[in-house]
């Protein structure tokens, strides 16, 4: 490290900036760039305006095997494997490229970004150390993240056979409710702009009559 190349340093900083913008944590930056911790912290503050989050990285492989994270991490890792094997990039470049493709897919579907860049990087490290494996689903033939040494025979993925509560989160049910309300609003005759905002009395619909009766009863 005696004779540091200026161009090399610029390259490292560019890479660090790219990683920080994608949401990398300090541990990832330290491992993947040759820059010192102090410089990385300063760079992080300059870009994000806040200090980097402290504390340890998530260290459990279990997160990657729960339903929704498993789908997202399997999608990411499949893309990563392709780019790593055929794209001719080094590990961190492959992670960045496949993570960008993953982000693009999630945004296209209007989905929530479940897998962060740091998680994706951790996932790759878990695979490198043999803690996870890819298992082929016997129905859809897709490859899914699973614990190492889990039985592979007859494996069925969480998308072919979703658990009974899968996807039925509070957020999802609220969204369904909001959509139903929106549809109801659209069903009202278009002549009256919106009964809630105007003072003019709206024609009494059966529903309105019922609510009036209810308030009278109270």
């Amino acid at each position: 490290m005696a004779a540091k190349s200026v161009v090399g340093e610029v390259r490292e900083i560019t890479r660090a900036i790219e990683l920080i913008e994608l949401g990398a944590r300090l541990q990832l930056l330290e491992a993947e760039t040759g820059l010192s911790r102090d410089r990385l912290i300063r760079l992080y503050k300059e870009l994000k305006g806040v200090s980097p989050p402290k504390g340890m990285l998530p260290f459990s492989t279990d997160w990657f095997t729960t339903w929704q994270p498993n789908i997202h991490s399997s999608l990411f890792y499949n893309i990563y494997l392709f780019i790593k094997q055929h794209g001719g990039c080094d590990a961190i470049q492959s992670i960045v490229k496949s993570y960008r493709l993953y982000l693009e897919h999630v945004r296209l579907q209007g989905d929530e970004v479940v897998l962060s860049l740091t998680r994706a990087w951790t996932l790759v490290r878990f695979f490198d150390s043999g803690m996870l494996q890819m298992t082929r689903c016997s129905r859809c033939s897709g490859h899914f993240v699973a614990h190492a040494h889990d039985p592979r025979a007859g494996f069925v993925c969480g998308l072919c056979q979703p658990p009974s509560r899968a996807g039925k989160t509070r957020k999802a049910s609220e969204q369904v409710r909001a959509e139903a309300l929106h549809a109801l609003d659209n069903m009202l005759p278009p002549a009256q702009p919106s009964p809630r905002q105007t003072d003019t009395p709206a024609p009494v619909t059966p529903a309105r009559r019922r609510s009036r009766a209810a308030s009278a009863a109270l």
Binding site: I71, I79, I83, H86, R100, L101, D111
Partner: protein, 121 residues
């Protein structure tokens, strides 16, 4: 001219015009596919390869095609791009996912991403 002969005369012409329309469409798809492939590969080679599922030699070949070459390749009566789901059972399963709360898009994307690479064989 009797009605039967009229039909006989009319039918081949109809078939001809229909098939030439189809041929035009095939050539258009071929041309757009090749141009899109080249653009994707020139923007970012590795990402473009992952998007299309092609191997490195095939990617190099595609990226190096000249405009004249793409035109010649596209002028064919066969499609140049191929369907990425080989297994019809998998495809039908992905197509009729009726469950509303289970997303079908990541599934299709995931299965596509785990397909083996397309080779220049």
């Amino acid at each position: 001219m009797s009605e039967a002969t009229q039909r006989l005369v009319a039918t081949p012409g109809k078939v001809m015009s229909h098939s030439s329309e189809t041929l035009d469409e095939i050539q258009e798809v071929n041309q757009s596919y090749l141009l899109l492939a080249q653009r994707l590969l020139r923007e970012d080679r590795a990402t473009g390869m992952a998007r299309m599922g092609v191997s490195a030699p095939l990617a190099d070949l595609l990226a190096d095609l000249t405009l004249a070459q793409t035109g010649k390749l596209a002028a064919s009566n066969q499609l140049l791009c191929r369907f990425r789901f080989d297994d019809h059972a998998v495809l039908s399963m992905l197509a009729d996912k009726a469950d509303a709360h289970v997303p079908a898009h990541p599934h299709a994307a995931l299965v596509t991403a785990s397909q083996p690479v397309q080779q220049t064989a």
